[in-house]
């Protein structure tokens, strides 16, 4: 597109960026060069360190090591304000808009002209219309943000950074929330922008759209830059995927089926209200049956009810209606403690928030969630010696790399923290395992180890509920696959017969199998569409 015209000028140059968080090295020597006037894609798996890198660039935090150059000048951002001053603006994945204000009010919010009685409405409206026409980002300046659709809200976000004079725009997974037509419009706008000399950087893990729209691609894996593609027309999605995951990546394939007819967990007619919005259901009449020896996968775009499902099964939040049975016993009214004691193991999505106490030693973290049962205690007292012994066993068997069982959990890397959690759940003789994004943000080695544990759990006769955003993982491990969309299960699929592409069509709600009239045609259409795109 524009790469020949301004090939020489470099908008952004990052060298050897290192950023550490407790337990994780999010960026470990990332290099990035972005040409002025180009659309630059950054691809990588979940947890590869893309968002961390963008936050560094946007001034949201400072890197531990490395240099940032913008238009040739070295920069050290103390805050996003410094970044916007040199023309860098960020569009977040989760919109940062005030719903109860109009579009133009949102645009000027935080950037008012500095007079106590005037907030520049006229100027804002004119400039908004102007920007909208020029870049194909038309939005009514006087519309209430609450009334806008997702695509339009994103436009407002982009307009906001343009309004502030950004010439380098970073978009964090901009297409994750958009429907296909909106995706096309977005990239059309970005092309207009870059044609006018602006630079766009976007994060994605959707390889097809990256190949179709980016002028250059940088691939990040495990916090490192592993590939730079200056000319995307020379690569295909297979090459990119290999770069992203590394060719030595083991596959999450399960072997022969171990599914039995014994029902481990049965969820019937489960509905959960959205907090604060009684009329809107976060989960609407969910029915899921998990048998012993079965992994039931839940696919879906994040925020479609997965979190509420987990909370309902564990009894963390009240439900509106429905019943949950564990091996025939109704646990709908049981407390979280009783449910966990009855044998529900839990691998939470956010391990540091819900799964551990970072300042506590490993052995106390192993007891967490099992503090009422042997060997950690008798319900009244904590048995320190037995807990330590069990922790040693978990460290050994699950290959947790740590100097001792007495160091605080915050000294472990993310992968080792996760192995510890998986280990403590598996050694506490669970009957059902709820695994929410069990391999999110961890390194390849730990990921393989956790897949192995999931298979082991299955062969031991556990019922496993697997929620994941990694479609390969879902398809590879699951025996049954449900797709959740807008609080409902809109498709139940046989993993062997689906590809990530087909799954994707169900996840966006554009196809469904639960409607008897549509089942055959929609599935066929989805399969056809997927095949067409996949083998292109």
């Amino acid at each position: 597109m524009t790469n020949t015209a301004v090939a020489s000028a470099v908008a952004i140059e990052l060298r050897d960026i290192v950023k550490r968080f407790p337990g994780v090295v999010a960026n470990d020597g990332v290099d990035l060069t972005v040409r002025t006037g180009s659309i630059h894609a950054i691809v990588g798996e979940n947890g590869a360190g893309k968002s961390t890198l963008m936050k560094t660039l946007y001034g949201a935090h400072r890197p531990d090591e490395g240099t940032i150059r913008v238009n040739g000048a070295e920069q050290s951002f103390r805050s996003p304000r410094d970044a916007i001053a040199v023309g860098i603006g960020m569009v977040f994945q989760h919109f940062q808009l005030a719903d109860n204000l109009t579009v133009w009010e949102n645009i000027v919010l935080g950037d008012e002209p500095g007079s106590w009685y005037r907030i520049g409405a006229k100027h804002a409206r004119t400039k908004l219309r102007e920007l909208g026409v020029r870049y194909g980002l038309e939005v009514d300046p006087d519309a209430l943000v609450a009334d806008l659709g997702v695509g339009q809200k994103q436009r407002v976000e982009i307009l906001k950074v343009l309004f502030r004079g950004a010439r380098i725009i970073i978009l964090d997974e901009p297409t994750a929330v958009l429907v296909p037509q909106e995706v096309d419009e977005l990239f059309k706008s970005l092309a207009e922008l870059t044609a006018g000399g602006a630079t766009a950087i976007f994060i994605s893990h959707k390889l097809d759209e990256v190949l179709a729209h980016a002028d250059a691609i940088t691939v990040i894996r495990a916090g490192k830059t592993v590939g730079e593609v200056p000319d995307p027309s020379k690569v295909n999605s297979h090459d990119l995927a290999e770069l992203m995951v590394g060719s030595e990546l083991p596959s999450p394939e399960t072997r022969e089926s171990t599914v039995t007819t014994d029902v481990a967990l049965e969820i019937t007619g489960l509905s959960v209200a959205t907090p604060g919005q009684a009329h809107k259901l976060a989960l609407d009449n969910i029915n899921i049956t998990i048998h012993r020896g079965e992994i039931v996968g839940i696919a879906g775009v994040e925020g479609n009810g997965q979190a509420e499902l987990v909370e309902a099964i564990l009894g963390l939040e009240p439900i509106a209606s429905g019943a949950i049975e564990l091996f025939g016993h109704d646990i709908t009214k049981a407390s979280t403690g009783d449910r966990r004691h009855a044998g529900i193991g839990y691998i939470p999505e956010d391990r540091q928030k819900d799964g551990m106490v970072l300042s506590f030693p490993l052995w106390e973290n192993c007891a967490l969630g099992h503090q009422r049962q042997e060997p950690y205690g008798d319900g009244r007292w904590i048995d320190r010696a037995a807990s330590l012994a069990r922790t040693e066993q978990i460290i050994r068997e699950f290959d947790v790399r740590t100097p001792s069982s007495d160091v605080p959990a915050l000294t472990l890397s993310g992968g080792n923290q996760q192995k510890l959690i998986v280990g403590r759940e598996m050694t506490s003789s669970p009957k059902v395992l709820i695994a929410s994004h069990p391999t999110r943000g961890i390194d390849v080695g730990a990921q393989a180890a956790i897949w192995e544990v999931m298979r082991l759990a299955r062969s031991m006769g556990l019922g496993v509920l697997l929620i994941s955003a990694d479609l390969e993982e879902l398809i590879g491990l699951s025996d049954t696959l449900h797709v959740i969309y807008d609080g409902r299960i809109n498709a139940t699929l046989v993993p062997a017969a689906v590809t990530p592409k087909i799954l994707g069509t169900y996840m966006t709600g554009s196809a469904r199998t639960d409607d008897p009239n549509l089942t055959a045609t929609a599935a066929a259409a989805a399969a056809a569409a997927a095949n067409g795109a996949d083998h292109g």
Binding site: P22, G23, L314, G337, P348, R380, I382, N416, D443
Partner: protein, 383 residues
């Protein structure tokens, strides 16, 4: 790890002696420096002032007084610390022990029981009233979401009002004196002191000095607090709730029940504070308008200074009253007595800050250490 000689002094000291020693020492140095400068600015001689303080403290009488008062302070510190450990700010320990002591004094003086029953009876009343008074902000928090900081502070005023009204109208002794006080607790209801034991082993105390038996109660409270916190399942859940409420909930802790239990426990321990003056101090043995007040607020400082740890609070309590005791007679020597408050304030602030800084540094170092190791692991993993 990095070469020790290149690390900052603070880190080197910390790794050699541990933050538990370094922080208080630094705090003491800073506190003495700050108060010396204040004295100098006011035209006083700090060396003479500290010599006087040293002279006062260097006596058996002072030691006994510090231990006696330190025991009251210790229980106050533990009462507040239980709440702090769970992330609850019980600012209401003051009202809780005040009401507890008033009821215990009134009913305790009325009762006619043998010593083995009389003391537990009085203690039980104080603990129950303290716990019940603390249950009010607990219930308000759990059912209505009322912030316990606000409600406990406000309930202190209510407790002051109620206790003054009850004492003036119902619980006051009717013996014609002008003193507003309850009847004196009979001997059967008092805690024995250590004087006889000490003199029997040849450690006779100076005349007028009494080593109060309440110290035993304070020690038992400390041991109980330690066992509860670090050995029991409830204490484990309490600490998890304080550090990470989300993880506590996921592990099966009922957050509302935990809030209610903890604040009642905190109030019940607060109820024990008043037992010190009531059953163990010869100048009291009764509840009156001369009763030691504001011990609950001192407890807040001590929990903070002692980092909510049973041993830390003990040291904090002793240092706290040592400063008070040492600076008490300064006025008679021509020095401003406020120097005690300056010493306490500077000591508390410096200790808290130094501790926090050291903790963060050592944590960062541990993380960096682990981060370096784990990045090596990623490379090694495929092999």
């Amino acid at each position: 790890m990095a070469d020790t000689t290149e690390r900052p002094l603070l880190d080197r000291l910390a790794s050699k002696f541990g933050p538990n020693i370094v922080a208080p020492v630094i705090a003491a140095v800073v506190a003495i420096a700050v108060s010396s400068l204040t004295l100098l600015a006011g035209g006083y001689n700090p060396v003479r002032a500290f010599t006087e303080i040293g002279k006062v403290l260097w006596s058996v009488e002072s030691l006994i007084l510090i231990l006696n008062r330190g025991a009251w302070y210790y229980v106050a510190g533990v009462a507040v610390a239980v709440g702090f450990k769970m992330g609850l700010f019980n600012i209401g320990a003051d009202g809780q022990y005040r009401l507890g002591a008033l009821f215990a004094a009134y009913f305790g003086a009325k009762a006619d029981l043998p010593p083995v029953l009389h003391v537990p009876y009085i203690v039980l009343i104080a603990v129950l009233v303290g716990g019940m008074w603390a249950a009010i902000p607990g219930v308000l928090k759990v059912t209505r979401g009322v912030n316990e900081v606000i409600s406990t502070i406000m309930l202190n005023f209510v407790a002051t009002g109620i206790s003054a009204w009850l004492l003036g109208n119902y619980f006051r002794r009717e013996d014609g004196t002008l003193l507003t006080a309850t009847k004196v607790i009979p001997i059967s209801g008092r805690l024995p002191n250590f004087n006889r034991i000490l003199s029997s082993i040849g450690l006779g105390l100076p005349k007028g000095s009494v080593l109060q038996g309440y110290i035993v109660i304070a020690i038992l409270v400390g041991i109980g607090y330690y066992i509860l916190l670090f050995r029991s399942r409830f204490g484990f859940e309490l600490r998890v709730s304080g550090e990470n409420p989300a993880a506590a909930k996921a592990s099966g802790v009922n957050p509302k029940r935990m809030v209610l239990t903890t604040i009642i426990l905190s109030g019940a321990i607060a109820g024990l504070i008043g037992i010190g003056p009531l059953l163990s101090d010869p100048t009291h043995y009764k509840y009156s308008d001369q009763f030691p007040f504001t011990l609950g607020f001192t407890g807040l400082s001590l929990a903070l200074l002692g980092r909510n740890h049973p041993v830390g609070i003990a040291f904090a309590a002793i240092i706290w009253h040592a400063i008070e005791r040492g600076t008490q007679p300064l006025t008679t020597k021509g020095f401003p007595q406020e120097i005690g408050k300056i010493l306490q304030g500077a000591f508390l602030l410096t200790a808290v800050i130094v501790f926090e800084v050291m903790q963060r540094r050592s944590q960062r170092e541990a993380v960096r250490d682990a981060a370096v190791k784990s990045s090596v692991q990623v490379e090694a993993a495929p092999a």
